[in-house]
Every structure is written in C-alpha cells, then in structure tokens.
Amino acid sequence: MLASLETVLTLARKDLLLELRSRDIVLAIVVFALLVITIFTFAIELTPSRSRDVGPGVLWAAVAFAGVLGLNRSFAMEAEGSTLDGLMLTPVSRELIFFGKVLGNFIFITIAEIVIFPVFEALFNISVLQIETIVIALLASIGFSAVGTAFAAVSVRVRSREIMLPLLFLPTSVPLIMAAVESTSVVVNGGSWSDFNDWLQLAILFDVIFVIASAVLFQYVLEE
C-alpha cells in the first residue's frame, strides 16, 4: 500500500516538475477560463441579482472548458516523446499510472482554480471564496481529473484528439457541472449546507463512480 502510494506520488511529482519547466497546462487553463469570464462580464449587464443568477454557471462552464485544454495537454506531452510507452514498460500497474496522472491533473486544476476564483469574485462581485464553494471545487476537480485523464488517454491515440476529448469529456461531466453550478448558486444566494445537500451527494456519487470506472477504462485504452 505504501509502495503504491510512493509510486503514485513519484508519477505526480514528475508531472509537476514537467509543468514547472513548461508551464503549459496551468497557464492554458487559467488564461482560457479568465478570457471566458471576462467576455461574460462585458456581454451581460451585471447587477447584483443577475451576477448571483448567472455567475455560478459562467464560473463552472469556464473551468470545465478550460480544464479540457489542460487535460489534453497533459497527455499530449506523454504522446509526443512516446513516454507513455516508457511508462507502460515499467512494472507499475496501469491503475497506479492512472492515479498518478489523476493526482497531477487534480493539482493543476486546483492551482488554476486558486487563480480563477478570486478574479471571478472581483469581476462578478459575488463571494465564492467560502468553505462551501471550496469543498464543491475540490469535488469537481476530482471528477474532472478522473474523467479527463481516462478520456485523454482514449483521445491521445486518435488523430483529432483536440476534438475528441471535449466530445467525450463534457457530456459525461454534465451531472458534475450541474451539481457544482447548483451548489455554488445556493451558496452565493446565502444558503447553507443543507440547502444543497442533494447536489453535494450527486457530486460525491459522481466522483466515486467515475474514479473507479475511469481507472478500469484506463488500463484497456492504454494498450494497442
């Protein structure tokens, strides 16, 4: 168990080191998400009530679409140098490779959210930096990372991978995006934990099911 955890951490540390050198993934997520949010602030005449109505939807649509860019990049990087083959030559199980990649992607998305949320809060003038939204963001990041990693592995071997990933990832993530939007909406309108308990449970259920399902899918899609 400890050895498996060490392997997962080694894989994630390697991805973090690569990201520190290239800054491809986090930068892509942050820039794209902030562009989407900024465009919406110009497109909509933001009153306090309208901000609370549309803000959560804009925030999570921006994070989800921007996340696709980052997830695509994280696997494209492995495909470019055939390093995915290098990983597959190691005696590490495919599940551990999956969890290592998921952990790396989770960290990238979370770092991007740490930048995106305060800017969103300033532009939309609604408070999302609360413990409730942080919990929602963590749950959403886990789900996005798991589903995104598995589908990025599927699309990395096809020619039009930039198109394939969003086509697979976004429809599958709809329940999670809905749960995040509705929960955030309740929070910014002054609701408490009990008011979005059902959505929270949906997000947790999504994460449990899709972390397991994605891990199973991952080991089959890696091999030719």
């Binding site: 690569l18 390093t83 597959m88 005696p91 091999e223 030719e224």
Partner: protein, 259 residues
C-alpha cells in the same frame, strides 16, 4: 557470441540464470491493424545467452513483434511468455525482465538525463539509485550531460540515454529496435559492448536492424520475417546476407560483397 568489447560486464545482475533457459516463447502470434494483418501465426523461441537478430522488409512486422514482446501491444491471437510468465496474465512480472530501446527514446524532453534515469529507476524500484544512475551515465558516456535536458541533446546522445534507461533495472532480456540508427562510432562501440556483456552474462538480446552484414556478424541466431511468419531461423554462422535479402524480395538491398 564473440566480441572485441573492452568493457567489463559490470552492469548486469550477478545472479544470471543458467544459459539455455527459454527467455521468450511466442506461439501462433497474430496481430492486425485494421485490415492489415501484420503477424500471421508467428512462432519464435529465444534462449538465455542468445543474441538474436530479426530481419525483414519494411512493414513485415519486426517492430510490432518487439512491441508485443515488450508488452506494449497485445496480440489478437496466440501466446507469448517471458521466462514462463504469460504476458496476457503476468505482464507486470515479465516487465521486470525486459529492457527495451525502441524507435523513440521514451524520455521526457523537459527533464534532465539524471531526472529521467532517476524517475524510471524509481518506477522499477532500483536499489542504490543514485549510484546506479552515475554508473549507467558513466557506462554510456553521459557523465558530462547528466544535468542537460533531453531535448537539448543530439539524437545520438538521446539514444545513449535511452539505452541507459533500458538497462537501469538490470533486465534479463534486452529488446533493441534499430538501436544503432543515428549512433556515431563511439556510441556503436558502447552498444556492441552492452550486447556482448548481456550475452556473456547469460542473458538474451533480441534486435532488429536493417544493417544486414553487421547484424549477422553480431548475433548468434538469425530470424527473417516474411508474410507475418518466420521464414528463416538459423545460426548466424550458416547465414549469408544473400539468404536474408532473398526473403526480402528485393536484392538491391544487398551490399557489396554481401552475396
């Protein structure tokens, strides 16, 4: 195998298995990509201590066969085992015995040589990792390039780093897919030395090459693939370049004096 290598066999597992043990056994392997059948019922056995050269025309399935042996490609039909471990069931065990240098170096361009070797060493749980990284870097002539990123290295040095990666965990079987391509003479000597040491230690080497004369001279046994099967399986002492190229169906490939 005879070799003029000047390198001492210091990089291999001292607990070498006895020579003659079946290292790789493939039976009735079939693999297709779409409608293109690449392997069509291929049988092959490689024993410990043997250096095996696989020849064949472009597209005949040499690289596919090596990828199947390396557990990177799953055959559609047939069985393949590494030291008795069936790859369809015990691939993770088999990978401990395999080191592979395929077409691409399989190294992270933005990581240094040292970081790459350390990372892959950790994946294989190589003991005394720091010492092993230094040992392999010295063996491959990479000591002065340990802190350089892979993408900053020439193709030849990337290949040396790939060879170091493949040998980090002291594999018992070395798979080389046109590993000599792009190497300068000093690097080729290193490669020859590694092959000789591997064989001398009682381990197996399976290589593909388009350099027919060099391949025959440097191996114990020759396989020629044709039509997705083994068309020729003979000790290298009984094979001429003409025997090989005749099975290619293109005699223009033969070099001067090769017949």
């Amino acid at each position: 195998m005879t070799s003029s290598t000047k390198y001492a066999p210091t990089i291999l597992d001292p607990e070498a298995p006895p020579s003659g043990v079946i290292a790789i056994e493939a039976s009735r392997l079939e693999k297709s990509f779409g409608n293109a059948a690449v392997l069509r019922g291929l049988d092959m056995t490689v024993r410990d201590g043997e250096v095996v050269a696989i020849f064949g025309a472009n597209g005949v399935g040499k690289s596919t066969l090596l990828r199947v042996m390396a557990t990177l490609t799953r055959p559609d039909h047939g069985n393949i085992s590494i030291y008795g471990s069936d790859l369809s069931k015990q691939a993770e065990v088999a990978r401990l015995s395999l080191g592979a240098v395929l077409h691409s170096p399989m190294l992270y361009g933005d990581l240094t040589v040292k970081e790459n070797l350390t990372f892959f060493g950790k994946m294989f749980r190589v003991p005394d990792l720091t010492e092993r990284v230094d040992e392999m870097a010295a063996r491959m002539g990479l000591m002065r390039r340990l802190d350089q990123r892979i993408r900053e290295l020439s193709h030849g040095f990337q290949k040396r780093a790939a060879l170091a990666r493949a040998l980090m965990h002291r594999p018992r079987i070395l798979l080389l897919d046109e590993a000599e391509t792009g190497l300068d003479e000093p690097a080729r000597l290193i490669l020859d030395g590694v092959i000789a040491e591997h064989s001398a230690a009682g381990h197996a080497v399976v290589m593909t090459t388009h350099s027919i004369e060099r391949g025959i001279a440097g191996c114990d046994r020759v396989f020629v693939l044709s039509g997705g099967r083994v068309a020729l399986d003979r000790p290298s002492s009984q094979v001429t370049p003409r025997d090989v190229t005749d099975l290619y169906g293109d005699t223009s490939l033969i070099g001067p004096g090769g017949a």
